[in-house]
C-alpha cells in the first residue's frame, strides 16, 4: 500500500512537472505572461465545445478595446489544474489571468493574486457571487457562473395530485400535506433523495436552512459563529430525520447515489420535488429536457419558522483572477472585465446552460424554472454547508445516514458536529 502510495506520488509529481514543462516550454514569450503586448490565460474551460461561443465573444470585446494585444488561452486539464498553478506560484511566474473555483481554492492562494476592487467597481452591481471570490473584504476574482441549490418541483405531478402547480406550498405544513396527496394520487415519492455518498444532507441543510434559521442566525453561521445546540439548528436535522421517518423520501435513499440516480428519479417523474443544482449537472436544463420546460418549477424553501425569510442558497462557481506578477495589471484587469461582459456571459448561459453571474441577462426563453432562479438571486445568500470544513462535512455525511436509519439521535449528531466544527 505504502509503496503504491509513494509510486503514485512520484507519478503525479512527474506528471505535474512534465505538464508544467509542456505549458511553459516555448519560453516566456508564448505560454507564460510577462510581455506588455500579450496576455496569457489559464483555465480548464477554453477547450470545451459548448464554451466556444463565450470565448469568441469575450475575445471580440477585448480586441475592440485593445486591438494590438494578443491573448493566448491555455486550457489545462482540471484534475491537475491547481497542481500546475501551485508550481507557477512557487516559481513566481506564469499566466497573467487565471480561472478559479470560488471558496477555499481561491482563498488559499490570494497571496499571489491582485486585489481587483478598483478595477471591477462598475461590475459590482451587474454581477452576483462576489463573496466566493473575496477574502477579508477584498475581491480577487470576477465571478462567471453561480452554483446553488434550488428546490425543483414537477408541475405535472402537482396537477395530477390536485395541487396548484403555480402556487407551490409556502409553509412546511402545506408542503407535508401536499406530499400526502402526491403519494396517494400519483404514487410518486414526495422528495427525490440520493444520500449514498451523504451529499443529500448538504443540499438539504443549505436549501432548507433559510426557512428555519432567522436571518441573524443565518448570517452568524456564514460568518463562522455557529451554535450547533441552538434549537433552530437542531430543527433542521429534526426535519431531515422526520422527512425520512414519515416516508417523504424515495425508498432506499441511503443506497441511492445522488449523481445521478436521484436526479434520474426526478426526471422520470417518480418524485415530485428535488433539491438540485443551478449549473453543470442536476439542474434546470437537464430537467427541462426530460420533463418539458413548462413542467419544471422552482419554489422558495417552504417556511418552517415564521421568523425565517427563505432565500436561495448559492455561491460563485468559477471566476477569473489576475496574478500579481503581471507587468500590466490594467490590461489584465480589462481582460477579466471582457471575460465577464454581458455578451460573453449570455453566450455561456445559452450554450452551456450555466446560471451565469450576470443578473441582467434575459433568460425568459428557457422556461419558468430558470426565470425563478435568476429572480431569486437578488435575495440569495451563501449556502450553509459551503462554510463547513471537509472533515465536518464528511462526518455529517455519515450522521445523516444514521439519522435516516435511526441509529443516532439529533442531539448526539449535533454534539458530534459541534466538536468537529470546533476542531476544524
Amino acid at each position: 500500500m505504502k509503496q503504491r502510495a509513494l509510486f503514485s506520488a512520484v507519478l503525479i509529481g512527474g506528471l505535474a512537472l512534465t505538464g508544467c514543462g509542456s505549458a511553459s516550454e516555448p519560453g516566456s514569450s508564448s505560454s507564460t505572461g510577462g510581455s506588455t503586448d500579450k496576455l496569457v490565460v489559464w483555465d480548464w474551460k477554453s477547450g470545451e465545445e459548448n464554451a466556444a461561443g463565450y470565448f469568441e465573444q469575450a475575445k471580440a470585446d477585448f480586441a475592440e478595446k485593445h486591438p494590438d494585444v494578443t491573448v493566448e488561452f491555455v486550457a489545462q486539464p482540471f484534475d491537475q489544474y491547481y497542481t500546475l498553478l501551485g508550481t507557477a506560484i512557487q516559481a513566481g511566474e506564469g499566466p497573467d489571468v487565471v480561472m478559479f473555483n470560488g471558496g477555499g481554492q481561491i482563498r488559499d492562494r490570494v497571496d499571489a493574486l491582485l486585489v481587483l476592487d478598483d478595477y471591477v467597481a462598475d461590475d459590482r452591481e451587474r454581477l452576483a457571487g462576489w463573496e466566493a471570490f473575496s477574502k477579508d473584504g477584498e475581491v480577487f476574482a470576477a465571478p462567471l457562473t453561480l452554483q446553488g441549490h434550488p428546490i425543483y418541483y414537477n408541475k405535472a405531478l402537482y396537477e395530477e395530485a390536485g395541487l396548484d402547480p403555480d402556487n407551490p406550498p409556502s409553509t412546511w405544513e402545506d408542503f407535508v400535506a401536499g406530499c400526502e396527496s402526491i403519494k396517494t394520487k400519483t404514487g410518486a415519492a414526495c422528495i427525490g433523495l440520493g444520500n449514498k455518498e451523504g451529499y443529500g444532507i448538504e443540499f438539504f441543510l443549505s436549501a432548507m436552512g433559510s426557512a428555519v434559521l432567522t436571518p441573524e442566525e443565518y448570517d452568524a453561521w456564514i460568518a463562522g459563529d455557529r451554535d450547533w445546540s441552538a434549537p433552530h439548528v437542531k430543527q433542521i436535522f429534526e426535519l431531515w430525520q422526520t422527512a425520512g421517518d414519515t416516508g417523504l423520501n424515495n425508498e432506499g435513499a441511503n443506497s441511492t447515489a445522488m449523481f445521478n440516480d436521484s436526479f434520474a428519479i426526478f426526471q422520470a417523474g417518480e418524485a415530485a420535488n428535488i433539491i438540485g443544482l443551478m449549473s453543470d449537472i442536476g439542474h434546470w436544463k437537464d430537467f427541462n429536457e426530460f420533463l418539458e420546460p413548462d413542467n419544471v418549477g422552482v419554489m422558495p424553501a417552504p417556511v418552517v419558522n415564521q421568523e425565517a425569510t427563505p432565500s436561495l442558497p448559492y455561491d460563485g462557481g468559477i471566476g477569473y483572477a489576475v496574478m500579481n506578477w503581471t507587468p500590466n495589471p490594467d490590461l489584465a484587469a480589462d481582460l477579466v472585465r471582457s471575460l465577464t461582459s454581458s455578451e460573453a456571459l449570455e453566450a455561456f448561459y445559452a450554450d452551456a446552460g450555466a446560471i451565469v453571474s450576470d443578473t441582467t441577462i434575459d433568460v425568459s426563453g428557457a422556461g419558468p424554472a430558470v426565470s425563478t432562479i435568476v429572480g431569486e438571486l437578488q435575495n440569495g445568500k451563501q449556502a450553509l454547508h459551503v462554510a463547513l470544513s471537509s472533515q465536518t462535512l464528511d462526518l455529517m455525511h455519515r450522521l445523516s445516514q444514521q439519522l435516516l436509519s435511526g441509529s443516532v439521535t439529533v442531539d448526539e449528531a449535533v454534539e458530534q458536529l459541534a466538536a468537529s466544527d470546533e476542531a476544524g
Partner: protein
Amino acid sequence: MVGPVGGTETRAAGDRSGPGSGPQARSRRRNAERWAPYILVAPAVLIIAGLRLYPLLLGVNFSFTGDGDRNGQSVGLDNYVALFDDPLFQQALRNVGLLVLLLPVAVAIPGLLATFIYLRVPGHRLFRSVYFFPAVLSPVIVGAIFNLLLAYDGPLNDVLGTVGVAPIDWLGDPDIAVFAVVGVHIWATFGMALVVFLAGFATLDPTLLDAARVDGASLQQVIRHVIVPGLSRTIQFVFVTTMLGMLTSMFGLLYVMTNGGPEGSTYLPEYYIWIQQGQMNRPALASAASTVLFVIMLVVGLAQISILRRSGKED
C-alpha cells in the same frame, strides 16, 4: 548461498589438475566466481531495497510528522493516537476482523467447487471456465453490475418480492452492506483461487484416491482424509493470498458500491487511507494508517502460516 560456494570449491579443486593454469589466473577466476552470486542477486536486492524497503521506511518516518499547520514537524505518536481515537478507523479495524472471520468461507467455496470439478461432476468442463469468468472483470465493472442488481428497486428485490419477501436495502442497511460487498468480492475473485486449487489437485496422487475408494470411503471421508491433507500447502497458499486480496484489493468495489457507507459501515483501512490522503488532505495520518495496515497484514499472514503449518504436520 551455500550451494554456489560449495560448487566453486569443487570446480577450483578440479582446475588444479588442468594444464596451463597458473596461480594468478586461478586466483582471478576464484575471485570472479566468489563475486558472481552477489552480482547476480544484486538487481533483485537493489530493487527490493530501493523501491520497496526504502519507501516503506520513508512512509513510516512520515507517519511521525504532522499535517496541515504542523507539516514537516515531528509530532511523535500523535497520528497514531488520533487514528485509534477515530471511530471510523475503529470501524475499519472491526471490518478487518470480520474479514478474517469470513476467510474460511472465502477459501471453502473455491475449494469445494474445485473438488467437484476434480471429481468430474457432470458439466465440469463448462463450470471450470464459467467459474473463472468473473476473475477477468475489473472490480469497477463488477461493482457497477451489482449496484444495479442490488438496488432497492433492483432485480434481486423484484425476484424476492415474487416469493413474498419484503425488499431489502442491500447497500443501504449498515448491517447488511458489508456482507453484500464481501459477497460480491468473493464472487468476483474466487476464480483465481479455484485455478490454484485445480493446480494443487494436479499434484495429488490419484492412487491414494483410488485406494480410498477401494476401501469404501465416502465422499466426505475422501475429502477429509485424502484431499485436505494432500492439499495442505495449496490451502495454506490460498488462505494467505485470499486474506491479502481482501485487505488490499477491495478498494474498487467499496468505491463503486458503497463509498465506505452507509454510516461508515463498510470502511476498510485501505479506503480510510485514501479518504484521509486524497479528500481530507492529511497525508501523514494516512501514512500512519498504512503503517498499521502493513503491520496487521504481516501479523495475520505470519499467524496464518504458522497455524496452517502446524495443522499440516498433524495430518
